[in-house]
């Protein structure tokens, strides 16, 4: 269609006789041909049609058919060129008009198709469902790629796990680490159990409100369905993703359960691989689903609720025992991110029933990017619902941006997730620093007089601004933009009202939350605010264990690996605007309740340092983009190597992987990215995991690239 249009327009611009000479016969030919055929047809029907009625049609005919393929043949049939010139002129003008209008209407149609692509793809699903037996390839591609946003179809067709070529890193030229090691002669030894991390595995809707009827038994988290459902009805989606405020388990009438098996963890979304490369690497040396399993869980739940609601610890224990029994070898457990905290809690629990259980069943424990001491990001999520470029969420972060989901909704959603509470930074000022100092301050920062220590730096907001904020409370972000435009004075030290260390920051957070939240922090977090917290008595259905109080299990022959990325800027502490009047900060609850719908804290995103670590109100430290180095490395490097937390002398190995950006698109790395999630496909990690799984754990040694040793040297061994 477009090609034809272009040729006509070319003709319009060219005035040369030779050109028109070559064109004219064709145009004529078509009209002649049509006249011919009409003549024939009128002949065929014995002249019932008056021939005069053909005339207007004939003049339009060329426009309709353009340059017909039969033109050449028709030319031979017709000899009459004279009337063609007149016709050509009319035709050209008409087609000039056509060109614009046609283009316009095509653009319009494309736009309409694009706008209505959701129903379209659903139509396509319908079509495919109806004609499902042996669908020819074209039939599934009725709707072009760009107009298709349905992965439901793709998932059902089994295409989803293949990523779009743009994002594909496997160009075939690279040698997969698994293949290399297979040729070296490595073969499966330990059965492998995967314990996935926070937000990266799928959740399936098992019971829902009427608004979610369509998503019954589909992944409401961890697929394109999620985007679908989210965009269609954000409130509905939120209602289903939230947990019960009080119990931290299912709210009435809603049931989400973890998707099962490796399929639940390999790809978060089409093209966004999580465990896929690691599974591939293990399969390369000979693992299959008999020896490699994933024990997924509902990652929203607090660790105690995991056992309460789903019996997850019992399941995991049984699963490990099954693998041990089936293969006659102790297992290797690989955890990622929050999965580390879950698994260590599990080990404490399992050891209380049988002190030797871990020793008898687990040979290797490899935790990848485990936030052993929590993540500062959890504070900002709970306080203001803000997460900076959250690595776990990747492009999904865009989805959770202000425009899609108001911050107060986000805060109340996050606060129901017990797992997030478990990720509140634990260890207190001994680890995270006080108002003037922190162990991981860089020498430059010490020179500049800045520190990671003040977890929250509070900025003054005048009474007028606060009042104005209330006036504008229907659109807080709008007001903030307005406010920030007026005084873009970054890092104005005079406006700083308070510097809060970690303990004080926790108090602010608790003061901001309701009674349920406080209760949950007490039971489900390892934070340093309450004497009741940090129990270690094997009751995971009640308490979350503090890694600083609960020693590692008795397992002298266990190899434990801490593998994590370094070299990425990672959130470490925050500068906050407080819209609350300073007086009411600890004041009556009434004022708070009145404004509960409003989020009173906002990251001071105008605050920057040119050569410093402060970026848009967030101070960044070394880490893997999500978890700061302090939390990734400190325990592995120091505390777990001493008797107090490691009484049986488990062999501890810390391995760091330096982040490198090598891909053309800078997207998801190509085996070099050490980002929090991408590290699961880091070549070094893959090789190391394979060595550990195939019985060569003893050959994998410490590898430190960061300043971790300087940092841990400043942390007391008996931090309390």
């Amino acid at each position: 269609m477009f090609r034809r249009l272009r040729t006509t327009s070319d003709r319009d611009t060219s005035e040369s006789g030779t050109e028109s000479g070559s064109v004219t016969p064709k145009g004529t030919a078509v009209s002649q041909g049509l006249e011919e055929s009409q003549r024939q047809s009128s002949l065929g029907i014995q002249g019932e049609q008056p021939s005069s009625s053909n005339a207007p049609n004939t003049s339009q005919a060329p426009r309709r058919d353009g340059t017909s393929v039969d033109a050449g043949v028709q030319t031979l049939l017709s000899g009459d060129y004279v009337p063609a010139k007149r016709k050509r002129k009319r035709r050209r003008n008409a087609c000039g008009c056509c060109f614009n209008k046609w283009t316009a209407s095509f653009v319009a149609m494309a736009a309409i198709i694009y706008a209505s692509r959701q129903p379209l793809t659903r139509m396509q699903d319908r079509v495919v469902d109806t004609i499902s037996p042996i669908v020819p390839e074209w039939a599934t591609n009725v709707v072009p790629e760009w107009a298709s946003n349905s992965t439901e179809l793709q998932r059902k067709l089994g295409i989803d796990i293949q990523m779009p070529s743009l994002f594909s890193e496997d160009d075939g030229s690279k040698r997969r680490p698994g293949r290399v090691l297979y040729e070296e002669g490595l073969r499966p030894k330990h059965p492998v159990i995967v314990v996935p991390g926070f937000v990266t595995s799928g959740l399936v809707l098992w019971e829902g409100k009427p608004c979610a009827l369509r998503f019954f038994r589909e992944r409401i988290w961890g697929s394109m369905t999620m985007t679908h459902s989210f965009v269609r009805n954000t409130l509905c989606w939120l209602e289903h993703m939230a947990l019960d405020e009080k119990t931290g388990a299912d709210p009435p009438g809603v049931k989400l359960r973890a998707a099962e098996g490796l399929e639940a963890v390999d790809y978060f979304m089409p093209g966004y691989h999580v465990w896929a490369k690691l599974i591939e690497a293990l399969a390369d040396v000979g693992y299959d689903s008999n020896m490699l399993v994933g024990e997924t869980y509902d990652w929203r739940l607090a660790v105690p609720v995991l056992q309460q609601r789903d019996g997850y610890f019992t399941r995991l224990k049984n699963r490990i025992e099954v693998m041990h029994e089936l293969h006659g070898e102790k297992v290797m457990v690989i955890s990622h991110s929050w999965g580390d905290n879950v698994f260590r809690n599990f080990m404490v629990w399992a050891s209380t029933f049988d002190r030797e259980w871990v020793e008898q069943h687990v040979a290797v424990y490899s935790q990848i990017a485990g936030p052993t001491l929590g993540v500062p990001k959890s504070i900002s999520s709970f306080l203001s619902g803000e997460t900076r470029d959250t690595a776990e969420l990747g492009f999904v972060a865009a989805l959770l941006s202000d425009s899609m989901m108001p911050r107060n909704k986000r805060v109340s959603l996050f606060r129901t997730w017990g797992a997030g509470i478990g990720m509140l930074p634990s260890g207190g000022p001994g680890f995270w620093g006080n108002t003037t100092w922190a162990p991981d301050d860089t020498p430059e920062m010490r020179q500049q007089g800045t520190s990671y220590g003040p977890m929250l730096t509070e900025f003054k907001v005048s009474k007028e601004d606060a009042l104005q904020a209330e006036r504008h409370h229907s659109s807080l972000s709008e007001f903030i933009m307005h406010y920030l435009d007026k005084r873009a004075t970054p890092a104005d030290k005079d406006r700083v009202t308070h510097r809060h260390d970690i303990d004080s920051a926790m108090k602010i957070l608790l003061a901001d939350g309701d009674a349920n939240f406080k209760e949950h922090v007490r039971n489900w977090a390892a934070v340093h605010v309450d004497s009741r917290s940090c129990k270690c008595d094997g009751h995971p259905e009640e308490y979350y264990f503090s890694p600083l109080n609960c020693p590692l299990p008795h397992a002298p022959s266990l190899h434990m690996f801490c593998m994590y990325g370094v070299g990425l800027p990672t959130e470490r502490s925050y500068q906050y605007l407080n819209f609350q009047h300073p007086k009411t900060l600890v004041g009556t609850s009434e004022g708070r309740r009145e404004r509960q719908a409003e989020v009173l804290w906002k990251i001071n995103s105008e605050s920057n340092e040119v050569n410093g670590t402060l970026d848009h109100g967030i101070r960044l430290s070394d880490g893997d983009g999500t978890v700061p180095l302090l939390s990734l490395g400190a325990l592995c490097r120091k505390h777990w190597r001493h008797d107090k937390l490691n009484p049986s002398g488990i062999r501890l190995v810390s391995r760091e992987y330096v982040h490198e950006v090598t891909t053309q698109f800078g997207f998801r790395g190509s085996g070099k990215s050490a980002d929090h999630v991408d590290i699961l496909s880091h070549d070094g990690v893959l090789s190391d995991i394979i060595r550990q799984a195939t019985g060569h754990a003893a050959d994998v040694h410490d590898e430190i690239h960061s300043d971790l040793d300087d940092i841990v040297a400043q942390i007391s061994l008996h931090a309390d």
Partner: protein, 608 residues
């Protein structure tokens, strides 16, 4: 600017109207309502209806209320944790290791997705090579590893729009089941039962899974099996009783056997002899794919003969069950009048060269064009016809399928044809058990429900063409398809004939004949010999009210289908299952609609 052409104006107007209408389609119902009040009916195509209508695509049928929701309103609650044991070919297989040609398939469903069809069409040999097992060992061939997909997602939808367990799990979740109480133990359905334990330790897995579920929920479990899953699970019971005495009594509350081919399926014989699968309900769409046009029959036998599971489905029980050359227990009165019988399991039509030529000529399109009235083999009156009963037919299959196959049948089949036919071995890693010899476990409080479909014509016996050869002994397995093929011209002119294109059909669920799905449940398992502890056995039949093949539409029509796979979406069956697992199984009694009682009356209780 000239006036735009009328053509363009028209088009633009249409586009504009369509776009506007589409944009405001949410208002359509209101307009429709208004219009109907004015007496103007407006009918719109489906796709045009408001967006919420698209939501009705899945998850709910045309019926306003799902059976599960009805049951929930009735007050049913989850009681026993449920373990699902899926059947033959209906669950997904995943490629874990393969040759170069299958690189794009790595960790994807090589079986059980639409793409499988596509890829098979693109590179058939590659696909077949990967689907095949090692003909000698019956396990993975060198360099290829297929494993069962895990979890409910592997068994719910075989393909888009082709529900297997989906409606059942939907019903279960409606009354409150979730993955904490509802699990499945999938298996590589190609494997012979002993191989499942040898290669994947499947029995151990299932045992531990059931134990874990019991421990987590503190309730004995209910096991649901479908089709071949029944044979697998009963073998498991024999094995587990050998491991731990009284295990079944302790861990299993109810066993629901849905469409189980307890005595095998006749179809397996034709598959192994000539690679011909016809009317394969359990294959559905794949049946077409594996049809003659796509996969030549010698490739099919080449593939199927390596699948040990199929060997376990060879008809079992010998002439006492399947009949002799003149009589069978399930012959209908009408057939007896006409001297027809299902007992002649294989009617061999020996062809010499001239007859062959004539027959082929008759089948050629040219012949049919010239002599349209002579397209039946009416001229072949002087043919040599031999009636083989089940034992003789089995011998034919064994003689033609090769040495490996014969060896495997001895271990992995329960068939009666071999004099070395075993007693009930406890060595589950080597042998498949004969249900006529191995009693059910001693578990007095267990209940066994046999739920199966009836009313669909089901393959029962065959008319075969045979090209005679000099040596009738051990045939070359690679060319048996050239020697044997189903005589599609065999027809009878009676109105109610059971013979159809060379295959005689009986009552059943389109795959499993009634005699196989019903006999043991109705008779043998209710007697001391095979059910020593005398636990409760209930047979319930579901008539096929829907048309088979309609399940693809995913509408409520499939809610009444009783064909082999469609029955899992049958609402009557789902209702019964929901009652059973929620602790109301005691209220369900036998429900017999077929002639099974007449049939079992003809079958002796004791098998020798």
């Amino acid at each position: 600017m000239k006036k735009p052409s009328p053509l363009f104006t028209t088009l633009a107007a249409i586009v504009a109207i369509a776009a506007a209408a589409f944009t405001f389609r949410d208002q359509v119902p209101a307009v429709q309502k208004q219009a109907s009040e004015w007496g103007i009916p407006i009918n719109l195509p489906d796709w045009f209806k408001p967006s919420t209508q698209f939501g009705a695509r899945r998850g709910d049928s045309n019926k306003p209320v799902r059976v599960g929701v009805l049951m929930k309103n009735e007050g049913l609650k989850p009681k026993y944790p449920v373990v699902i044991v899926p059947g033959f070919v209906t669950s997904g297989l995943q490629l874990w290791q393969g040759h170069n040609c299958s690189a794009s398939f790595y960790r994807r469903r090589i079986w059980g997705s639409l793409e499988m069809g596509r890829t098979a069409l693109r590179d058939l040999d590659c696909w077949l090579t990967h689907m095949r097992l090692d003909p000698k060992t019956g396990e993975d061939p060198e360099g290829i590893k297929l494993r069962a997909l895990e979890g409910l997602e592997a068994i719910e939808w075989f393909m888009p729009g082709y529900a297997v367990w989906a409606k059942m799990t939907e019903g279960l979740s409606d009354i409150g089941y979730d993955p904490n109480m509802l699990e499945t133990e999938t298996f590589d359905w190609r494997l012979a039962v002993p191989k499942m334990q040898q290669r994947d330790k499947w029995f151990t897995r299932l045992k531990l899974r059931i134990e874990n579920l019991r421990q987590l929920n503190e309730k004995k479990v209910a096991v649901l099996s479908h089709s071949w899953g029944d044979n697998v699970f009963r073998n498991f019971l024999v094995w587990v009783e050998g491991e731990v005495d009284g295990w079944t009594e302790k861990h299993v509350h109810t066993y629901v056997n849905i469409g189980g081919p307890t005595l095998g399926v006749p179809k397996s014989m034709s598959t192994y002899l000539s690679g011909e699968t016809r009317d394969t309900a359990e294959l559905g769409a794949i049946g077409n794919m594996l049809s003659n046009q796509v996969v030549p029959s010698h490739k099919r036998t080449w593939l199927f003969r390596t699948w040990g599971a199929g060997i376990g489905m060879l008809p079992n029980g010998g002439p006492r069950i399947w009949g002799n050359a003149t009589w069978a227990p399930d012959d209908t009165d009408e057939m007896r009048e006409h001297n027809h019988t299902f007992g002649a399991f294989m009617i061999e039509n020996q062809l010499n060269k001239t007859m062959l030529a004539e027959k082929e000529a008759i089948r050629s399109p040219l012949w049919r064009a010239i002599f349209p009235w002579r397209h039946t083999a009416a001229s072949l009156t002087d043919r040599v016809v031999k009636n083989h009963d089940i034992d003789a037919a089995m011998e034919l299959v064994l003689a033609n399928a090769g040495h490996d196959f014969r060896q495997h049948v001895k271990q992995w089949g329960a068939v009666h044809a071999d004099p070395e036919s075993r007693q009930c071995h406890v060595d589950a890693e080597k042998y498949f058990f004969d249900p006529l010899k191995c009693p059910l476990p001693k578990a007095p409080s267990l209940s066994l429900f046999c739920l199966y479909g009836i009313g669909v014509p089901t393959e029962r016996s065959y008319y075969y063409n045979h090209r005679g050869t000099a040596n009738a002994t051990e045939g070359d397995p690679t060319n048996s398809h050239e020697l044997w093929w189903i005589d599609v011209d065999a027809k009878e002119h009676d109105k109610n004939s059971t013979l159809e294109d060379g295959v005689r059909k009986c009552d059943g669920d389109a795959t499993v004949p009634l005699i196989s799905s019903g006999t043991l449940c109705r008779k043998h398992w209710r007697h001391k010999t095979l059910n020593p502890s005398g636990f409760r056995v209930v047979s319930r039949e579901y008539p096929n009210k829907g048309k088979p093949g309609q399940r693809y539409e995913g509408t409520s029509k499939d809610a009444v289908s009783a064909d082999h796979v469609g029955i899992l979406s049958n609402e009557a069956l789902i209702e019964d299952v929901l009652r059973i697992v929620s602790g109301h199984g005691d209220e369900l009694q036998d429900d017999i609609l077929s002639d099974i009682d007449k049939i079992v009356a003809n079958i002796p209780l004791e098998q020798t």
